[in-house]
Subunit: 163 residues, 2 copies
């Protein structure tokens, strides 16, 4: 908490009814960073499908003032691994609306994302960050994440390709 | 192909019966790189469970000589995404036994991993590589993978933490 900012509002685990709100937030996230993104309605429809399975979780931060639209979210997928029983968690998205930053909302979201994933047996959480996104890298480091392999100490790069 | 090396043997999509072979190969992979890994039998049991679902694929390279143990494998997970219909593919592991390298087996495995993932509707494949693993980075770059975001051009780092 800094200055006179309001405390973070409640963070809830998303249900299927939250799909439209998640669609709006994911759209706002990509629009802010000039990334191509499907329409809000299409995202909402897809979130409704995703949230009906047990391999996708989302956490949502309500407006701290108690009214208005939700102000942030995290999206987590769970996938199986041969290394342990229970899933590997991937934090696919984490977003707080620009006008609501520096109020602890990101921390509340990531804490809930971690606890919900651990409650489902996940031993590890992965995420991808852009090299240039120094603020995000600092945020994740502060929350115990590292971009080095705990065994080898080597840095870890994400490679991708279209199929 | 280089020199007088034998051509790569056939690559097959793994079934549940291949779980023991996958356990041996994943164990050999981690042992070669001094990474902690469960016992072969435990890995085999877990692979049998993984391969019974529709969110895990494995591809296996047989011994090119036609007898002997399998010589390489790839492990792919499929997870849902809000960005498109169909899954996002993650190449979790790709391994060729040291005595069988430089014979096109890695290429045969990754080609099959890509085609099987695309056939299931995946638009994109991700993987993690250690910064210091120059050979692997060169291999993946040669196969069309990039460690930069196609939209922003920024590098992409993998962060992780234990839960």
């Amino acid at each position: 908490m800094t200055g006179g900012a309001e405390p973070a509002g409640p963070v809830r685990l998303a249900g299927v009814d939250d799909a439209p709100s998640l669609g709006r937030l994911l759209h706002a996230f990509n629009t802010e960073f000039d990334c191509p993104v499907p329409e809000v309605a299409e995202l909402g429809t897809r979130f409704a499908g995703l949230l009906s399975g047990d391999d996708v979780l989302a956490v949502i931060a309500a407006d701290p003032s108690g009214d208005g639209d939700d102000v942030g979210f995290g999206l987590i997928t769970l996938r199986p691994t041969p290394y342990w029983d229970g899933p590997l968690a991937q934090l696919e998205e984490l977003y707080v609306r620009p006008d609501q930053r520096s109020r602890g909302i990101g921390t509340a979201l990531i804490d809930r994302a971690r606890s919900e994933s651990a409650a489902r047996g996940a031993h590890e959480m992965h995420l991808i960050v852009a090299t240039e996104d120094v603020d995000a890298r600092r945020f994740y480091a502060r929350h115990g994440f590292s971009d080095t392999d705990p065994d080898s100490g080597s840095g870890l790069l994400c490679y991708l390709r279209q199929l």
